[in-house]
């Protein structure tokens, strides 16, 4: 499935889609979106790239195996979940929020880091599954 049109388009689509996935991730707290959907969009972006340029090239682009994203994401989520213990001994999963919102990103809080963790896990898990299956099929 190596058509020139798709290949050319995917070169532009990959960064745009990734940016879009981050956008979906960040806006999740106020509007439809969130880590799970963002992660799925990002993995679709990579899968599209793999379709256009071949799996090997996408893997080269990623440098690391996508599976490595999973432990990072999980660590981030768990840290975000247990962080309230270290800030005044509140129960885990208590929402912690910075006082002043940051431009573009918005309010920063433990829930955001939790969602980023979910985002990374979803990318890692879905790409691992798809890459593994397409390699062995």
């Amino acid at each position: 499935m190596k058509t020139i049109i798709l290949r050319t388009a995917s070169d532009f689509l990959l960064p745009v889609l990734l940016l879009f996935s981050v956008f979906i991730l960040l806006r999740g707290h106020y509007l439809p979106g969130g880590g799970f959907i963002g992660g799925l969009v990002a993995s679709i972006a990579f899968v599209l790239d793999a379709f256009a340029n071949g799996l090997e090239n996408t893997k080269k682009l990623l440098k690391l195996h996508p599976g490595f994203l999973m432990p990072f994401g999980l660590t981030l989520s768990v840290l975000a979940a247990i962080s309230p213990i270290f800030f005044g001994g509140q129960p885990i999963m208590t929402g912690l929020w910075a006082e002043d919102p940051i431009p573009v990103i918005g309010s920063i809080g433990s829930a955001l880091f939790f969602d980023i963790g979910v985002y990374l896990i979803v990318i890692g898990a879905s790409l691992t599954i798809i890459f593994t299956i397409s390699e062995s099929a």
Binding site: L74, V122, I133
Partner: protein, 768 residues
């Protein structure tokens, strides 16, 4: 006291770090652990003998009423001293017995874990923590029996023992929960005051039966006894420690501990007397037919445990005193006989009693220990064993009804136990020394001093019984009985029936020793009855289970994915159909439905077309793509019903699913017609039925009154508590964040599973 209990576990874990050291020349240093515990518990004797009870409580899981509360009284002190005392000797003995063994460090870890668990068990005042320690003893026993894990027989015995004692543990848990609910507390010391209400309540019978099951399986009572002879596959120090002196007495301990609470009923007395009586006779008769020294000792241990249960069943003060004394006596002589057997096995390489003789020439100190152990075991005066045996007869004589049956049973058992003690403790040492054993030499001190220590204690206590009486027996009895009379242990009770019975025991036992020579012929004779033994019956049942589960699995898990899916859906349809057509009113209130819109009709038509196309398509890729259309149509529906989050997720998931399918199917050969038409129709009908049922269900759900409390709570508090305006996302990352965390873990496990399965297969293919 918490530290005392945990010390064993701490040592077991620290083996990970200091394992090399424990394995090496300094292995005897680990003896210091039980020794220090022994000293610690000995220091309580003055307080306990004054009648004090020491209680210490540590909070563990307060929300479930589970506390680590320990109670040191006469009963638990007796057991603690036995555990740490024999533990000290066994630890020392092991350092020589398993010298240089590859896994000596592991062995010590299991052994000290067991010691900690056993101490926790006897000291616990909380039923739940007692259960936890009870299970821990079973588990450490499993590891110790299977210590020679390269031998199939060892592994099998370990599994049998774990199965039986684990089942007992389950019964214990059931009994404990029931009893705790009934009494309103899990503290054993608080239940004693409620004894009357507990015994008269309707669930008493169930509680008692569950506790009986637990105690009988742990203490190897008929018909659960068969795991104990199997457990003799363990190295001898284990048999000494767990399977004669301490762990098997956990069941006895349980019965004693609950005597003041559950005892004093007809059910309690008669069950224990019958089961204990049957066990002691059954096992005692088995002794005659054994030739393996450890086999003889195993059966005599079962028989002794039977006596103990029998005495608890009698339940009079005399019987309970006899029980406590016999626990000490038995621990002293049986542990030393096991240790002696271990030495013989270690030095000569055999435990076959028909081959062993004349070893006293080469193993003199061991022979002395063996001879004294036999005397204590036989209850020959002036040893402590004599006092124990005398008390047993008196307890039987004074019980009132069925006196002669009870005493007759006890007499026969004691005679056979006398015989067993002499066969194990005397026979290997007397007679002509076979030439092949002439090179046997005395092993190092750490092996033969422990049994000598034990037997000398047994002899000394015979002369000064009041030592044991004031320190252990009297405080112990006070825990067991509500009102006690004063009593004194003494060697000489005057000329009475019990004395005559004692004389008969010794005379007939000695006669038996000379007449009944153990032989392989006798062993083969008893093996013919193996078919009807409880062991065989249980094994047959387990085999039956295996056969059944194989058949069951092969039927349902035949390797065809479509078969699995059809089974699941078929089963669900049956259950759903049954509920819907029996309990539901099938009429629907159409007025509550909103009007159809053009969009909805269009989407549904799109779906139906896509589904029909999927079913009748001749190309795989086309089928998958049209499946994707169904999914996207769903996304549209979600959008119309204002669920954009759901729609977006469904959209991405569907895209990825189609991609996945395409990736896999792309390489497959052209679409072949794999299934027969009949099967296709069958599956089609099943699908339609299931779909119809689900539709009815969903329609019915819509008509149920909706509880909007949770929805309102989330809607109102999403911004207040979690600073988010998108309620769905707030639920995901905040309100139900733990759920999300666990779901992501599931996702990771799935990804790793796919990766592992496929990559593993790739590698093996590469190898070829």
């Amino acid at each position: 006291m918490l530290i005392a209990v945990l010390l064993g576990f701490i040592f077991a874990i620290s083996i990970l770090v200091i394992g090399k050291f424990v394995k090496g020349k300094q292995s005897w240093l680990s003896t210091l652990i039980p020794l220090s515990l022994l000293a610690y518990f000995l220091s309580f004797i003055p307080q306990i003998s004054k009648g004090e009870i020491i209680q210490q409580t540590y909070s563990w899981i307060p929300s479930f009423n589970v506390e680590l509360s320990f109670q040191l009284d006469g009963l638990s002190l007796l057991f603690s001293l036995m555990i740490t005392g024999i533990g000290t000797l066994v630890f020392a003995y092991t350092s020589a017995y398993l010298k240089g063994h590859e896994f000596l460090d592991r062995f010590y870890a299991y052994l000290s874990m067991f010691m900690g668990a056993m101490l926790g068990l006897v000291l616990s005042d909380n039923l739940i923590s007692m259960f936890v320690f009870w299970e821990l003893t079973s588990i450490s026993s499993f590891y110790l029996i299977g210590f020679n894990n390269s031998s199939l027989a060892s592994r099998k015995s370990a599994l049998t023992a774990l199965g039986i004692t684990g089942m007992g543990g389950l019964l214990f848990l059931g009994g404990a929960v029931l009893l705790g609910e009934l009494a309103g507390t899990f503290q054993i010391s608080e239940m004693i005051g409620l004894a009357d209400e507990i015994t008269s309540s309707s669930s008493y019978v169930l509680i008692a039966v569950l506790f009986f099951g637990a105690a009988f399986s742990k203490s190897a009572q008929f018909p659960f006894h068969f795991w104990l002879p199997g457990a003799m596959k363990a190295p001898t120090p284990v048999s000494t420690y767990l399977h004669s002196a301490t762990m098997v007495k956990a069941g006895i301990f349980l019965l004693l501990r609950f005597t003041p609470i559950l005892g004093n009923t007809e059910l309690w007395h008669s069950t224990l007397i019958i089961v204990g009586g049957v066990t002691m006779l059954y096992a005692a008769i088995h002794i005659i037919f054994r030739t393996d020294l450890k086999g003889i000792l195993a059966y005599s241990t079962i028989s002794a445990l039977g006596i103990l249960v029998f005495l608890i069943g009698l339940g009079t003060q005399e019987a309970l005193i006899a029980c406590l004394v016999f626990i000490i006596v038995h621990a002293l002589y049986k542990a030393s006989l096991f240790l002696i057997t271990g030495i013989i096995d270690h030095e000569t390489g055999t435990r076959d009693i028909t081959q062993l003789a004349g070893l006293k020439k080469v193993l003199m100190p061991v022979a002395i220990a063996g001879f004294l152990a036999a005397l204590i075991s036989g209850g020959v005066p002036p040893t402590f064993g004599f006092i124990g045996k005398d008390l047993i007869y008196e307890a039987g004589l004074n019980w009132g009804s069925y006196t002669w049956i009870l005493v007759g049973g006890a007499l026969l058992t004691k005679i056979l136990l006398y015989y067993a003690g002499f066969v194990a403790g005397v026979k290997p040492f007397v007679g002509q020394l076979p030439t092949k054993f002439e090179n046997v030499h005395l092993p190092e001190k750490r092996l033969w001093i422990p049994p000598l220590v034990l037997v000398s204690l047994g002899v000394v206590l015979g002369f000064v019984p009041h030592l044991a009486e004031t320190a252990l027996i009297a405080p112990g009895i006070e825990v067991l009985m509500t009102s006690t009379e004063t009593f004194h242990l003494k060697l000489w009770h005057g000329f009475n029936t019990a004395l005559i019975l004692s004389v008969i025991t010794i005379a007939v036992g000695t006669l038996l020793y000379f007449v009944l020579i153990p032989s392989h012929k006798k062993e083969r004779f008893i093996e013919r009855f193996e078919v009807i033994s409880p062991k065989n019956i249980v094994l047959k049942i387990t085999e039956g289970f295996t056969v059944f589960s194989t058949l069951w699995t092969n039927f349902f898990q035949n390797g065809f994915l479509r078969h699995y899916v059809a089974t699941i859906i078929g089963f669900l349809s049956l259950v759903l159909g049954y509920i819907i057509f029996t309990n539901f009113d099938l009429s629907l209130d159409y007025s509550s439905f909103s009007d159809l819109t053009v969009y909805e009709v269009a989407i549904v038509l799109m779906m139906i077309t896509a589904i029909l196309f999927t079913v009748f398509s001749r190309s795989r890729l086309a089928a998958v793509a049209s499946m994707g259309i169904v999914g996207f149509a769903f996304c549209l529906l979600f959008l119309f019903y204002s669920a954009p989050d759901l729609a977006m997720t469904q959209f991405s998931v569907d895209t990825l699913t189609v991609i996945l399918f395409v990736l896999v199917l792309y390489r497959l050969p052209k679409y072949l017609k794999m299934s027969k038409n009949v099967l296709r129709i069958e599956h089609g009908v099943l699908s339609i039925i299931f779909g119809a049922l689900m539709t009815i269900l969903v329609l019915k759900v819509l008509q149920e009154p909706v509880n909007a409390e949770i929805t309102d709570y989330y809607a109102q508090n999403a911004y207040l508590l979690a600073k988010g305006k998108n309620v769905v996302n707030v639920i995901l990352v905040d309100f139900r964040g733990i759920d999300t965390l666990i779901e992501t873990c599931v996702l990771i496990v799935a990804a790793l599973g796919v990766f592992g399965l496929l990559k593993l297969r790739l590698k093996t293919r590469d190898k070829k």
